[in-house]
Symmetry: C2
Subunit: 297 residues, 2 copies
């Protein structure tokens, strides 16, 4: 879109951190780019970049502007998708950021179900911890975010939210595997595999042990749930995961035991979007489907 050219160039400069680099990225000369930026700043009424010896950086006004640019870009795409939609084609793209726990079972099932109806729609699925997921929404890199324990900043709309208990995952042969009611303190007697602090489940565990006399033993910190699952198979270690990330019904190599809410607070699984944003058709529809599926959990 031609009329966005200058705005896109500004975004490129903001990302590259230097006019010359951005000029190269956008295949024009730095002089042309430089003058366009100066021209824009003039008619905008205020500088957008602060000039540093080693390049440029957005000033506060620029931060506001870049937000506008991204929203403008994405809204135009939405309009174009809607127009394509009413000419009969069902195209579009959904980009979603979600927690690791969502990746193995839930997300693939949802995406393929959606694509059965709308084969023209493409997807980007990004694994993001809750902070990065919110960052993605803010920068319009993702339309949706499905994460545990989001910070719920006022800048987001919560489309739906459900609670899930934390489940202890261990080998079937584990001494605790036959218990009917498992407590957190039982788990802490054994070596445990926990994700890094950025992950929602770790946040809940930290909260939980914080009000106990015992301590979390962080000797095995792994950011891969796959690692965790295979690790606990070979010993007495215990891992933690949400039900949505497990195949509790079919995977009989493991014992899955929910921890009570009073021990470890249940995790809030929330579907977020940028506040007030009108999503592209495809993303909005997918969000609806997700909301229905999540409500059934």
């Amino acid at each position: 879109m031609k009329h966005l050219q200058t705005l896109l160039l500004i975004e490129a400069v903001a990302i590259a951190g230097s006019i010359r680099k951005a000029a190269e990225d956008m295949n024009i000369t730095s002089s042309a780019l430089n003058r366009r930026i100066q021209g824009f700043e003039a008619e905008f009424g205020a500088p957008v970049f602060e000039r540093l010896p080693r390049g440029v950086r957005l000033n506060p006004a620029g931060e506001l502007l870049i937000q506008h640019i991204r929203s403008q870009k994405s809204d135009l795409e939405r309009v174009q998708a809607q127009v394509a939609d009413l000419s009969g084609v069902r195209r579009g793209h959904v980009s979603i950021a979600c927690s690791q726990a969502i990746q193995p079972y839930f997300m693939p099932r949802e995406v393929s179900e959606y694509r059965r109806e709308h084969p023209g729609v493409t997807f980007s699925v990004h694994v993001r911890d809750r902070d990065r997921a919110e960052e993605d929404l803010r920068s319009y890199e993702s339309d949706l975010a499905l994460v545990f324990e989001p910070r719920h900043s006022a800048e987001f709309d919560v489309l739906i939210s459900v609670e899930q208990p934390v489940v202890a995952v261990m080998s079937k042969s584990h001494p605790l595997a036959t218990k009917t009611k498992l407590r957190l303190r039982d788990c802490l007697e054994f070596p445990h595999v926990v994700p890094p602090p950025a992950i929602g489940i770790r946040y809940l565990l930290d909260l939980a042990v914080g009000r106990m006399s015992q301590k979390l033993d962080p000797t095995i910190e792994a950011d891969s749930f796959e690692f965790m699952r295979h690790y606990v198979l070979n010993g007495k270690a215990i891992g933690f995961q949400f039900p949505i990330g497990l195949d509790t019904a079919n995977d009989d190599r493991f014992a899955f035991l929910s921890l009570p809410d009073r021990d470890v607070p249940h995790g809030k699984l929330s579907l977020l979007q940028m506040k007030g944003r009108t999503l592209p058709v495809a993303s909005a529809r997918f969000a609806n489907q997700l909301a229905l599926s999540i409500a059934d959990l």
Copy 2:
């Protein structure tokens, strides 16, 4: 803003209904305008106007586009106002559409209170019935709407909402003026001055009489509350108004008697904005002030 030029031209064409007229309005030749539109449609990927023998008209895609254009225009203005704001100047403009009842006392007080703090801010206050007010929001002609009994279409955010009873207004010398409890059916015995159906208070009265055996006597239908007030002074007629439109404490030429909710349903006074829209700073602040004042009613 140069990069919006094409979009503004498209809007002008949409309004003028013809490329040549719009060209004259925008001080360019029709050929230039024509080519810009064709160029835009080409890169947009779909026609925006349908060509009629006597001019052009937006097609469905164009309707979507024009909405986008208006939203972008207003969002850019918001950004510029915010930027001006952080450079120390407190400028801006508030445009609000509101019911007639709000005009005599409430609105002037609110505006002057706001302008005591922010003298740089200018105002547009439009009298609009509830349908036109919503139309104004939709077309970004007004930032806010303060109306009775809005249709509450899902396209709006309700910032605050309070109920107000319908008050019968009559001369102090009126036979009913000394009653302590006034019923609607008493009023209907006398000639009454009612606003046209588009006005919220008439809607409530129609609702009320609809479930009674009696009928509304529409012999005196006036869309000016000023007319109504002066008319009831000179006879036995009764008028209707919400408390917010009256100076019940000080105006002793009248008797003001609230009608009970079971006779005439209370009116919902709601402050609306376009759904999901980020208002200009000035309007957002004014909306906050209004919300506080309204909550105190």
